[in-house]
């Protein structure tokens, strides 16, 4: 993963001189590393080491002492949505390269954690991902084959995913420690609600059709299934904080399997 240092970089480090601007190769290397930003995720430093890992190619041209100090700073605790970690990597790298006061860099780093986590969670995990799942399930419901369904899902999801990662790194590098206004983008403020409304109508549209394809010979009991689903969903929505649906489903399924075997 490590690339050999250029002579110019080594020379700049020895001299302690001004580093060269970030090159396209360094940005590309950082972008690729961002896909592994959660590689050493843990409950203590969370994504901290991944931030330093992704930022390393961008900091290469710093003088030796500042390079190590910056890496040490950036490897500490950090938490963010992985797709928006590029905003932190880009802006903090720009701060380090511009020679900002380390105290200011650290303060800004701490301040970035919350917004990058909550904005990404709402936009991606609670918005874009379920919508893409529903789009793929719609294709399944309409009778599409395995290849088409998988391509629709992966194509749609990753168009948004990769665009968001690329935007994050670019805007971070361009704006440095003044990146906060970029997070006030209408996409982040209005996007989650808009995605939720589209998901709601799409879910209503495809649920009966997808279930029709799954139920197969059980369609003789379709009415009963619908009633059970409505009652069950209300119970889950009411007590969702205390019980996850998939664990409850496993419990009920275990009983059903035992009943079927014992019968």
């Amino acid at each position: 993963m490590t690339e050999p240092e250029s002579r110019a970089t080594q020379s700049a480090r020895r001299d302690g001189g001004t580093p060269a601007p970030v090159g396209a190769r360094a940005v590309a290397a950082s972008f690729i590393r961002l896909f592994a930003v959660q590689g050493s995720w843990n409950y203590e430093t969370m994504v901290g080491n991944g931030i330093a890992f992704s930022m390393k190619p961008l900091l290469r041209n710093l003088p030796e002492e500042r390079y190590h100090a910056a890496l040490a700073r950036q490897a500490r605790y950090f938490n963010a949505h992985p797709y928006l970690a590029g905003v932190a990597v880009g802006s903090l790298a720009r701060g380090e390269l511009d020679g900002e006061d380390p105290v200011r860099v650290e303060r800004y780093r701490t301040a970035l954690c919350g917004p990058l986590g909550s904005v990404g969670d709402q936009l991606v995990w609670a918005g874009w991902l379920p919508l893409c799942s529903l789009m793929a399930l719609a294709a399944f419901a309409l009778g599409a084959g395995p290849l088409v369904v998988v391509c629709i899902f992966l194509g749609a999801y990753n168009a948004g995913h990769i665009a968001l990662r690329a935007w994050g790194l670019r805007v971070g590098l361009r704006r440095g420690l003044r990146v906060a206004p970029a997070l006030a983008n209408p996409l982040f403020r209005e996007g989650p609600a808009a995605l939720a409304r589209i998901s709601a109508v799409l879910a209503g549209l495809i649920l009966p059709l997808a279930l029709q394809r799954i139920i197969g010979p059980g369609r003789a009991l379709a009415g009963g299934v619908a009633v059970v689903a409505v009652i069950g969903a209300v119970i889950l929505a009411r007590f969702g904080a205390r019980a996850t649906g998939w664990r409850a489903a496993l419990g009920l399924l275990s009983i059903f399997v035992l009943y079927s075997v014992a019968r």
Partner: protein, 231 residues
């Protein structure tokens, strides 16, 4: 099937499990780990992608409720989907118990894989503590090393979970399906009711804060029902 044959046949599928397990959190998060994809790939490995897609769709409806927020503990659907897809594709097409048993096996794997993610995260923390002095000195080698160790361990985790789950659950699933006592009508209806319940609950959780989302869902449901009746 002999144990040797079973052992050899699940090795390539376990490699698939390793890749999709890694994708869930560590690299590259392109959602190969979603059950719709992983189960379809699992089924395709056994030669029946369509069977994998069917169990994948059931699991995807259930996975709609999984929101992998920060440090929350959630199901790891990649390996679970692969195991479910392989088990589903390995059953006779006409078997009444194929779908419920594949779903049971996938959800059971999800419990185990979810726990294995916590083990890997704790191991990562242990490694981070071990390398702390070097990382605090800004050593790029230590930073890369910690990252690569975490990625490798997660890859091994996905492989091990898939391998053990298939080694134990694949033969068991055949035994259960062979003595399955409920007819296909009730078996499919039960699975569909479970998937519909969890999916509807998840959609409510995801959308209820948005204005008019409830009405939009009902509007869509009406349109979907009309389309269903027209089919």
């Amino acid at each position: 099937m002999t144990w040797e044959a079973l052992f050899l046949s699940i090795l390539p599928v376990s490699l698939l499990g390793a890749v999709v397990g890694l994708d869930m959190v560590s690299f590259p998060q392109i959602m190969l780990s979603r059950p719709l994809v992983s189960a379809t790939l699992g089924g395709a490995f056994v030669g029946r992608a369509g069977a994998g897609l069917l169990i994948g769709a059931v699991l995807e409806l259930i996975a709609l409720e999984t929101l992998p927020f920060g440090a929350s503990r959630y199901a790891e659907w990649g390996t679970a989907g692969v195991v479910g897809g392989v088990v589903m594709a390995g059953q006779p097409v006409s078997s009444a118990g194929g779908l419920p048993v594949a779903m049971f096996v996938a959800l059971a794997t999800a419990v185990f894989s979810s726990r294995s993610m916590v083990w890997v995260r704790n191991w990562n923390a242990h490694e981070a503590r071990r390398l702390r002095s070097e990382i605090d000195a800004g050593s790029p080698t230590a930073i890369d090393s910690l990252q690569l160790r975490g990625l490798t361990m997660d890859l091994v985790r996905g492989f091990a979970v898939t391998f053990v789950a298939l080694l134990v659950l694949y033969p068991l699933s055949h035994k259960i399906v062979a003595v399955w006592g409920v007819d296909a009508v009730h078996s499919r209806a039960f699975v569909t009711a479970l998937a519909a319940t969890v999916a509807a609950g998840a959609i409510w959780t995801l959308t209820h804060r948005a204005a008019r989302a409830g009405w939009l869902f009902i509007l869509g449901l009406g349109a979907g029902t009309v389309l269903l009746l027209l089919q």
